[in-house]
């Protein structure tokens, strides 16, 4: 097993940080390490915090960390911010709200850019969560970009999804339409010292009645994250949900679905890589010209190239080097 992985399992922060970088940069060593760490995963309570910008997610996460720390739990946080589509760079500033925990040795906070991924999380967020889980964090919190529509991604990664809403923002209705309401396991109405709280709570209840909640009825919490009000109850709710997942068949199915999704995602990624890599080797230019001049259609071309790729049976570049 790699030295880095050993060190990380023993609690070396730098090694842990390095491993996350390796997977983020998609280095082969990273994948090897994940394979070795995977058996150690499955302990952590994985929480996804999502909601529109301005809902107070970061402030809430800061208080949630404090609450878990009070209970003696270790915490990992992945805070995702959007990368610039033009330069590929990013300004990652979510941790500002949590910086008082920066030098708590039992808390590990990592900022990630979306790096081209369109969802509210980045491609390697899942791996980063697994690494934190394997290395002993009791709780792993994922804070997403909060773009509104693409929060669906968070369901694939987190076991407990919290949707944070704010009264009077006007976007609660939009979220309800986008189907995001259906993925939340807990609802949080933050900035609850503002007018309009009751309205939001009522709207959530109505929506839940409409879609039906046969297995788990998502509880609704009101918080004032700035002051820390309501956070104790919220965290208790998260632990309740975790108990539910562990004890119910619904929960087991969900965990299995997560595994299936991860396997499929890895397969998709590999195939996509293969397609990119092989594009040149299969005389793509000629085919492109043919399609452009309407001599062939894109479906025929695509199927033909795919057949060639699969028949070569090479799923990884450099496989011959092994």
């Amino acid at each position: 097993m790699s030295v880095l992985a050993e060190r990380a399992l023993r609690g070396d922060v730098r090694a842990l940080a390095r491993i996350i970088s390796l997977v983020e940069n998609e280095e082969p060593e990273g994948e090897e390490i994940i394979k070795h760490l995977y058996p150690h995963t499955g302990r952590a309570l994985i929480i996804g915090i999502t909601g529109s910008p301005g809902a107070g997610k970061s402030t809430l996460v800061d208080k949630i960390i404090a609450e878990f720390r009070k209970k003696g739990r270790t915490v990992g946080v992945i805070a995702v911010d959007p990368s610039s589509p033009f330069s590929g760079g990013a300004i990652l500033a979510d941790r500002i709200r949590m910086q008082r925990h920066a030098n708590d040795p039992e808390v590990f906070i990592r900022s990630m850019g979306t790096r081209g991924s369109l969802g509210g999380v980045s491609r390697s967020t899942r791996e980063a969560v697994e690494i934190l889980d394997a290395c002993g964090k009791d709780v792993v919190i994922i804070e997403t970009v909060g773009v509104g529509q693409s929060e669906i991604d968070i369901v694939k990664l987190a076991d407990t999804v919290c949707l944070v809403l704010v009264p009077g923002m006007g976007d609660d209705i939009q979220i309800m339409k986008a189907g995001i309401m259906e993925i939340a396991d807990l609802f949080v109405v933050n900035k609850a010292d503002r007018p309009g709280v009751e309205k939001v709570v009522t709207e959530i209840k109505l929506m839940l009645d409409l879609i039906g909640t046969p297995d788990w009825r998502p509880p609704i919490y009101t918080t004032v994250a700035e002051k820390g009000d309501g956070v104790t109850e919220l965290v208790e709710g998260m632990e309740e949900h975790r108990k539910f997942l562990k004890q119910s068949s619904h929960g087991e199915k969900r965990m299995k679905d997560k595994v299936i999704q991860e396997i499929k995602d890895i397969m998709s990624r590999e195939i996509a890589k293969k397609i990119e890599h092989s594009w040149e080797n299969h005389g793509a230019d000629v085919h492109v010209k043919a399609v452009f001049e309407k001599e062939m259609d894109p479906y025929t071309v695509a199927h033909s190239i795919l057949k060639n790729i699969i028949s070569e049976n090479k799923l990884r570049e450099g496989a011959s080097e092994r």
Binding site: G54, T59, I91, A93, I96, R97, E226, K227
Partner: protein, 560 residues
């Protein structure tokens, strides 16, 4: 403007002129494709009466000291009394700063302006862990009334007006000043001066906040109330645009965000039951004097006219003094360069002139070593002389608002007002300045302006002499910069130890408990209780420590 100009005749002349311009441009195009002010307002080639159609002297300009105050807030302005020459100063210990203040007063400075160090500005005593390395560096270290007494040693508070740049803990420093007055035998009602006390701009641009917005507004309005009743000659707030501009805003944004802050303060005080006709008289403002000369002069005039209108129409204020925007100006520090520092003397002169032509009530001129360190005695002397030369040798102070009626100045004054009003309207729609700040609306605009300016300098579009053009190889090794003694912190810690031994600690404890109780009750004015704690030599850190526990601390909003 005065009598009806013959517009058709002028337009005819203009046509002929433009034909000639076209011919000239064929031989020599203009230096740029288009010309704009620093704040991005397009500048015409030439301004004429057609640019001022619709301007009504009585309605839009009027006379100095009378609504709408465009031309100035006092009837005789500098003919009656020159602006106050008030150099911001302070560093190291109270002893060292006291020496500098007495030097400046002897050199003809007419008012004091106190700079406090960062621990003092943020409510920490010099022995607090966060104060390490910072004591005395950007201003004087003041931990208790004992330090304040030394700071004003041999300075008669009934003869000198003092401006204190202090915000979150303003109540404490004001209390100290009052107590020093008491010891000198000067009663509160004779004290004259200003505390900056403007927390909103701290959130926006300056960063020395302590508490969250709600309790901060409470402290500020407590001070308004207390001073209205007890310290009537005191300016209870200096609503600031200087720092907003330094953070990178345009001139129009500087006006807009400052006045929007003002609106928020007036609303808060009104909600508390205070009468704007009364406390409005003691609101003051603080602006930047930046590079673009014409735009700056116009900016000050626009701000005056806008605030008069806001107080009159939005708040129904009838008292003339409460309608007036009185302001202090500081020349723009961020315009000064580390390269070829002597050039900064020239920049400051232009900027100071703009402030005077804009009708400022008091002025601080920066020193040439601004980008390198705190001012040396020599360089602050030159900065002061700059003001004196303008006052006594240039003639501009001998007639009021001399640039009024200038086609470009009146046009720019209107333009800046227009743009600023748009920003204020958007802020109103959001629900006011507190919400705009929370949403990051204000900060985003400022940062965007700052970034485009940086890009303009790097592309060579904006020229900074000595920095991206006309550079020379230079050596600053022999510049004799001011160095703050590293031992300030140690000395202060020692003083604190001695203080705690000498004072009545039980009494102090009781006064702090009273502050704590009152902090929980919004209906109680905290000032008298803070005064009691200060009188008994409770330290600033102790008082702010209690308030921190009760009010909590503010975390900044990041929009990048």
């Amino acid at each position: 403007m005065s009598k009806k100009e013959n517009i058709p005749e002028i337009l005819e002349l203009k046509q002929a002129y433009e034909a000639q311009v076209a011919k000239t441009m064929e031989k020599r195009p203009e230096r740029r494709k288009e010309f704009r002010t620093g704040g991005n307002i397009p500048l015409n080639r030439v301004y004429d009466p057609t640019d001022l159609e619709g301007l009504n002297y009585a309605r839009d300009l009027g006379y100095p000291g009378r609504y709408p105050y465009t031309r100035g807030v006092q009837p005789t302005m500098y003919r009656g009394r020159l602006w106050t020459m008030r150099q911001y100063a302070g560093f190291g210990t109270a002893e060292e700063s006291n020496e500098r203040y007495r030097y400046l007063l002897s050199q003809g400075q007419t008012g004091l302006s106190v700079a406090f160090d960062l621990p003092t500005q943020i409510g920490y005593d010099s022995d607090h862990p966060m104060a390490q390395g910072e004591c005395g560096k950007v201003g004087v270290a003041i931990d208790s009334l004992a330090d304040m007494e030394i700071l004003f040693d041999k300075i008669p508070l009934d003869k000198v007006s003092t401006s204190m740049t202090i915000n979150a803990p303003a109540s404490v420093l004001l209390a100290m000043y009052i107590c020093v007055g008491e010891k000198q035998g000067v009663s509160m009602d004779k004290l004259s001066g200003t505390i900056q006390n403007d927390i909103l701009k701290e959130y926006i641009a300056r960063g020395t906040y302590i508490f969250p917005p709600k309790p901060s507004m409470r402290l500020i309005t407590d001070i308004f109330e207390f001073c209205s009743n007890n310290v009537p000659k005191w300016n209870t707030i200096s609503i600031s645009g200087y720092h907003i501009r330094e953070a990178g805003s345009t001139a129009a944004q500087e006006v807009a965000f400052t006045l929007a802050d003002g609106i928020a303060y007036v609303e808060a005080a009104q909600k508390k039951g205070l009468d704007p006709n009364v406390f409005g008289q003691r609101l003051s403002f603080f602006f930047n004097a930046h590079n673009d000369f014409l735009e700056e002069v116009a900016k000050f005039r626009a701000a005056r006219r806008m605030w008069g209108k806001i107080m009159k129409e939005r708040f129904g204020v009838t008292d003339r003094k409460a309608q007036m925007l009185r302001f202090h100006t500081q020349t723009g520090g961020s315009t000064l360069t580390a390269q070829q520092p002597e050039n900064n003397i020239v920049r400051v002169t232009m900027q100071a002139l703009a402030a005077v032509l804009g009708g400022t009530q008091s002025l601080h001129t920066n020193s040439m070593d601004e980008a390198l360190a705190l001012p040396s005695e020599k360089s602050v002397g030159i900065a002061l002389k700059t003001q004196q030369i303008i006052a006594y040798e240039s003639g501009v102070a001998d007639t009021i608002d001399p640039l009024a009626g200038s086609y470009v100045i009146e046009s720019l004054t209107n333009k800046i007002q227009e743009r600023a009003e748009e920003y204020i309207s958007q802020i109103d729609n959001m629900g006011g300045m507190l919400i705009a700040i929370e949403k990051g609306y204000v900060q985003k605009h400022i940062q965007d302006s700052a970034y485009s300016y940086q890009k303009a300098v790097e592309s060579g579009d904006a020229i900074v002499v000595g920095v991206n053009k006309f550079q020379i190889k230079e050596d600053h090794a022999d510049m004799n910069l001011l160095k703050v003694d590293e031992s300030v912190g140690e000395r202060q810690v020692q003083k604190l130890k001695e203080l705690r031994e000498k004072r009545d600690n039980l009494k102090v404890k009781n006064t702090l408990e009273n502050i704590r109780k009152a902090a929980r009750d919004e209906s109680v004015n905290l000032m008298p209780l803070i005064l009691e704690a200060v009188r008994n030599y409770g330290t600033e850190g102790e008082i702010c420590g209690v308030l921190r526990e009760e009010f909590g601390e503010y975390t900044e909003n990041i929009i990048l």
